[in-house]
Symmetry: C2
Subunit: 279 residues, 2 copies
């Protein structure tokens, strides 16, 4: 297929590389020519440029790999140039907040399939794009109100081509609820954990694997993640509060000196973790 | 040197294997003969048995690799059999709560050096002992009130022999403060995170690297960790409260829709994380 990828950051660049490797013809669009030159020299794209409209008429599929708030505007700018039957998709980590504007921006004859590739890196830019991060990752598809089964299948097939392992279809509402818990809450926790250090110069000398693991994602793209958090506020606040209630159970057991309660909380977490992650 | 290791669980077993590999003669003590037979067949110990007193007269160094609450009683049971000049050490993850009783149990002519190897596994028992987990890990030494520099050096040298990378000496009070933050708080967070799931059957299908990393240590030895938590209650409660205050800053910024504040919190966490962990 001929695929236009708009935005060649970590996710867009990884998509472009993975789709090219799978035999598709990829056109890349970025804000500056340096990025295009890098993508070409690394063999990620067949052609590219800074003008999204120039490649739109050629594309069977368009991937808008921009920040959530930019998706609808990009779609509107592109609309006059798309051929009938083209499937457009995105990579945004939140869905409910962008859905209505995106669907209202959709021209007749064009289909939109929301998608969320659950892979990425804490760095930004094409220098950190790497198709291998997509391998084995989860991929969530959120069909729009008028999306045809054919268009959903096109996007699922591309996800398979890129190496995603589990491809699931859910509603926008359910997507945002789940993401608040499995992705946004862990990021909020990692940030709060690092920021709660008394910041003696000594911390780094004493950290072990557990602290390292829990804080890896505290190194975070602040522009993207503040948008993701605010675009899913209600769900994330609820997840934080559920988490705090559980942490307070531990704190209360400590204050009471209640060993039985602590052991019971630890048995519960052990049983759940071993069920979730079988390795 | 001739070294008696009492307790051949994950930490004691790993010690035994690493010390044997470094050329020391290791005697292992465990509650049952099956464990001793495994340790012998895996080449971790030169000899061993279920009676700690039997090997005490042979030892230059005794490692009590038991739970924190068992250290002083084991020392008292062993006291009549130790040669003058023997150095005894432990592996407990908390120090202030055991220090006074251990020091009161110390016979004349014997020295005790508290130690905390910051390595381990979430499983228990000799089947999960593995000297390689000690390589490159941090090792904390806490001298007792009457410990000689010679005895401290003996334990530091053994830590180097086992492959620990950073060997630090601190007071018991400071050890417990730091450990509450860098080790116990992450474990409390991981447990609370897993336990706060609404437990739809779907979670496991949606988790990504971040959730996996943050919850690895939610699979936890409940007997040991409830003892570690309760033995360091005041410090851990303070660490939990400092963390909750930071998490509330994120929640408050979400409630106010304050993007600038979120970005500033994320920049702070990114700067700190990149400083702590240089990789």
């Amino acid at each position: 297929m001929k695929i236009e990828v708009i935005g060649l950051g970590v996710v867009g660049g990884s998509y472009a590389g993975a789709l090219t490797a799978a035999g598709h013809t990829v056109y890349g669009v970025a804000r500056n020519e340096t990025t295009i030159a890098k993508a070409k020299s690394r063999g990620m794209i067949a052609d590219g440029g800074t003008d999204a409209a120039a490649f739109a008429p050629l594309a069977d599929v368009v991937v808008i790999a921009l920040y959530p708030g930019q998706v609808a505007a990009q779609l509107r700018a592109l609309a006059p140039y798309l051929r009938k039957g083209t499937v457009v998709t995105d990579v945004a980590g939140i869905k409910s907040v962008i859905r209505d504007e995106v669907e209202a921006s959709l021209p007749d004859g064009i289909e939109f399939v929301f998608a969320h590739p659950m892979a990425g890196r804490e760095k930004r830019g094409i220098d950190y794009a790497d198709p291998s991060v997509l391998k084995g990752a989860n991929f969530i598809v959120v069909p729009g109100a008028k999306t045809s089964p054919r268009a959903v299948q096109v996007v699922r097939d591309l996800a398979e081509d890129m190496g995603f392992a589990h491809i699931m279809t859910v509603s926008a509402e359910r997507h945002d609820e789940i993401i608040a818990f499995v992705s946004q809450l862990p990021h909020a926790i990692a940030v709060a954990l690092v920021n709660s250090d008394e910041e003696s110069a000594e911390t780094e000398k004493f950290i072990g694997d557990s602290f390292r693991d829990l804080t890896r994602i505290a190194s975070i793209n602040e522009t993207l993640w503040s948008e993701l958090f605010l675009g899913n506020r209600a769900n994330l606040i609820r997840s934080i509060e559920d988490f705090e209630a559980q942490l307070d159970e531990i704190k209360d057991a400590l204050q009471r000196g209640d060993k039985d309660k602590l052991e019971s909380l630890f048995r519960s977490s052990t049983e759940r973790r071993n069920r979730y992650v079988k390795r």
